[in-house]
Symmetry: C2
């Protein structure tokens, strides 16, 4: 599997099809391939060697997709930098995998000085914007204008293609090493699972630095269809773009979907072109599913479950599991079944497969499973055993192979000897009509070891009480699972992928104490 072949194939078969639409800028696959071959030539003239890491710190754009292809065109490795990170975190990742060249757009120019001052080996900076490049930075557009195109170096198979630093909802950032085979197989498996729409225009809203966004981009490249790109999430821009570009497919996290639907001008836009909406990266979205199907009943909703280490999709819950009967039966709360090409098992800590209905850890095997963590052999050995990836996610499986996630294993709360999976409690709380978002964590308790604690963000204008939440919870789950304490906040800390950062919520409670379940 060679990742550039997706672009090569479009150049061969549909050179005049639109490859990218970014605001008013439209480029065909012929134009894109030419720019990629020139950018690759420029990177080579800047000293890039096969295998070198090249980073990009930027909002989504057509250039982001060119960067990805150009690095692979040169047999290099992309390091797509997390745009939510602080300078020290960015410098950590650049130093960790020795990234020699960093492409930066206007939104992150202010970080360049800090990176330059603190990195062990400061990278060479390229400015990817439309203004004059700052001093000491090469210009992306000028490089492309002046460079001669170079031939595709033809890397593929087990050659390293990407180092993706994991979001960091737990622990220290780890560089997930993904090969051409990993990313390519994952894309083809997804196409086999849910065939891409012919002539389909996919809107990239979720960040391309994240495997969720990059993974969808890979499917779109393999299918040879058009990428519509927005810099990031803005409700009005998303609504306008769906209408203007007749977008038929996109992926959003539930928070974004909620914001779209709640927007006062939602009803003013013609969204009939949108056929498919994928969502993921959030533990509990039952309320969002109901809401979105109420407003856009024609939509094919699907949920994807995965992780960076699996490039990323492990399971998918298709549109037929989002129908009214499937919602009543609870099937819409499953993350679906293992996708084509992937073997999924629910196992005990010794790796023995558990009977259906029993909660254990999800392990997976397939060509999409990462090569390991960059320079972290111990972490790699913990995650990969005999070719199986241990996900750290707790789940059970029904008789038809549907997987129901109960929690991150590490998020499990042990209270009075009982295991409480926070997702179950969060599901209960989120059914309260006044709750916008919530997270359940374990906090230290002299009496119970850990106590269930809920952090709740009410809907605007709604006032809730602790007792009200507790009483509501008791309607749905056993008493020991209900929160002992409830805290109200006007917002919750979110990761780049839209996950609630429970680590940040836990930190103040556990300061100076070791948690039983790390």
């Amino acid at each position: 599997m060679h990742l550039t072949l997706s672009l090569q194939r479009s150049l061969q078969q549909t050179p005049d099809r639109l490859a990218t639409i970014f605001h008013d800028r439209r480029r065909t696959f012929r134009e894109m391939a030419d720019r990629v071959a020139r950018l690759a030539g420029a990177l080579r003239s800047l000293g890039m060697q096969p295998g070198d890491r090249v980073g990009m710190l930027a909002l989504n754009s057509d250039r982001y997709l060119e960067y990805v292809m150009a690095v692979w065109w040169n047999a290099g490795v992309i390091n797509p930098v997390n745009i939510r990170w602080s300078v020290p975190e960015i410098v950590y990742s650049l130093d960790d995998c020795d990234t020699r060249i960093l492409i930066v757009d206007d939104a992150f120019l202010h970080m360049v000085d800090g990176i330059r001052r603190t990195a062990k080996a400061p990278p060479l900076f390229i400015y990817a914007g439309d203004a004059e490049p700052p001093q000491d930075m090469a210009s992306y557009e000028q490089l492309i204008d002046e460079a001669a195109p170079v031939p595709d170096a033809g890397s593929g198979g087990s050659d390293l293609a990407a180092i993706m630093y994991t979001g960091g909802t737990t622990g220290f950032p780890k560089g997930v090493m993904l090969s051409h085979t990993n990313l390519g197989s994952a894309a083809v498996q997804r196409m086999a699972e849910m065939p891409p729409l012919r002539g389909g225009r996919n809107l990239h809203v979720a960040p391309l630095f994240h495997i969720g966004g990059l993974g969808r981009a890979m499917v779109q490249f393999m299918a040879g269809e058009t990428h519509v790109v927005l810099p990031g999430f803005d409700a009005v821009q998303v609504l306008q773009t769906i209408e203007r570009e007749s977008v038929d497919e996109t992926m959003l996290v539930p928070t974004m979907i909620q914001m779209l639907i709640a927007h006062p001008d939602f009803h003013k836009y013609k969204l009939g072109s949108l056929q498919r909406l994928a969502y993921g990266a959030s533990p509990s979205a039952a309320a969002t599913v109901e809401l979105v199907l109420e407003r856009m009943p024609w939509l094919q909703l699907s949920h994807s479950y995965g992780m960076t280490e699996a490039s990323p999709i492990i399971a998918s819950n298709p549109p037929e599991n989002h129908t009214e009967p499937a919602r009543r039966s609870g099937l819409s709360r499953s993350v679906g079944r293992g996708v084509v090409g992937i073997h999924v098992r629910i196992v005990d800590p010794e790796g023995r497969e558990l009977p259906r209905g029993t909660v254990g850890e999800i392990i997976v095997r397939g060509p999409n499973v990462m090569q390991g963590y960059w320079n972290k052999p111990d972490e790699t050995a913990k995650a990969l055993k005999d070719g199986w990836l241990w996900t750290g996610d707790g789940a059970y499986m029904d008789e038809a192979g549907h997987i129901f996630i109960v929690d991150r294993m590490k998020d499990m709360i042990v209270t009075g000897g009982e295991n409480v999976f926070s997702a179950e409690v969060e599901n209960a709380i989120s059914r309260h009509p006044g709750v916008a978002m919530c997270a359940v964590i374990g906090v230290p308790s002299a009496q119970w070891g850990e106590a269930v604690h809920a952090v709740v963000m009410p809907k605007p204008g709604v006032v809730l009480t602790e007792e009200e939440i507790r009483a509501h919870c008791r309607e749905f789950v056993a008493g020991f699972k209900c929160p002992k304490t409830v805290e109200f906040r006007s917002e919750l800390p979110l990761s780049g992928a839209g996950k609630i950062l429970k680590r940040d919520l836990r930190a103040p409670h556990w300061a100076g104490q070791a948690r039983a379940v790390a």
Copy 2:
């Protein structure tokens, strides 16, 4: 990629779905997985080690599919024996790759003695039939009854999965080495290219020992759908089975399609369930396409082009290239475009890509490309260069990437300094309403070096003359391409894959002479 995971996934997700239908025998995936695990246990008790080759010499059956999975379950390598071969040819392949165990059905019992007498290391024979096993042969069913199931050994990735001996239209048989990744990627790529029908019942008529049949079986396994199996081609059985089992998909070679349509009872069967008909393995099928769409206008026809070395599909020509306008424009005579995940190029002998419209050799790259030829490093080095497979097929590509095969490079006839591609002449001859099948070869000529010679099989009851064929040809192709001589036969020699064996047609003409283009 682990090939047994396809069965594991069905066992996990749809254990009670029918896996195989063979005449009146129906087995679910749960039953099949149990039999596979027991057969694997039996093979192990017979001394089979990981990596060992196990052969099967049999007509198609549900047991053929069990054999394939059971060998992989034990981390072994299948050697599916060509059922058209003579004893010496079979012995050659068994000896060549050291096949220790050979499963034989009733149809080939008569060859067992000969194999036993002449093989260097005679294999252990297993009888896969419903009668009493012959003396000195283990019983397939008894082995399954008595063996304890063993766990899946979990081989995959670059582990060898199959040695497939090439049909032998040219030269000496070569053992094509296909890994789990080769066969698995090929199947998933085909699913991405043309999504399998949900609940689809594929009818296996083409022999499973051939990559054409095995490749389709792999797609059906990956999709987790039902295999309907017939021992081989019999027009009435095919028609009956499509009707009785509501078959919706099958692959046939054009000769079989012609025999189906020409059958006097064709109109008596309800064939409305059949949605898709794939065809391949024949150089010229334009007349067949017209005919089949006249009789079954609802059919989605697709053509596949490939070879054992590519597991096998390289390009596919989809239903939309078989419409009336596509037939008029000539697009239905293309073999289609390179499929998802595969990079195809038309190159000159130095490997330089040629301009569109120029005839050169097809080379391909992708995860489906073989590891090499068993024990034939020189042949392997000739076929695989820098990861590209040189197909030996001559073709040109249009501006949209459609590939038009002009000939096997080796079948090119050089006559009076002009190159003649026999497929072009065959296409012309086959347009004659009285021609059932034909082949064009080069024969020695004192005057021209080689002369174009046609071997024609007229339709039953039709009498043709040499001059008639020549005059008809001149209507479509240049004079130098028309056959200098024409020979009429009541049948043509066919390979197991339904290809005309030109080698056999050429042999008498070239006895004692070296051919300029070997």
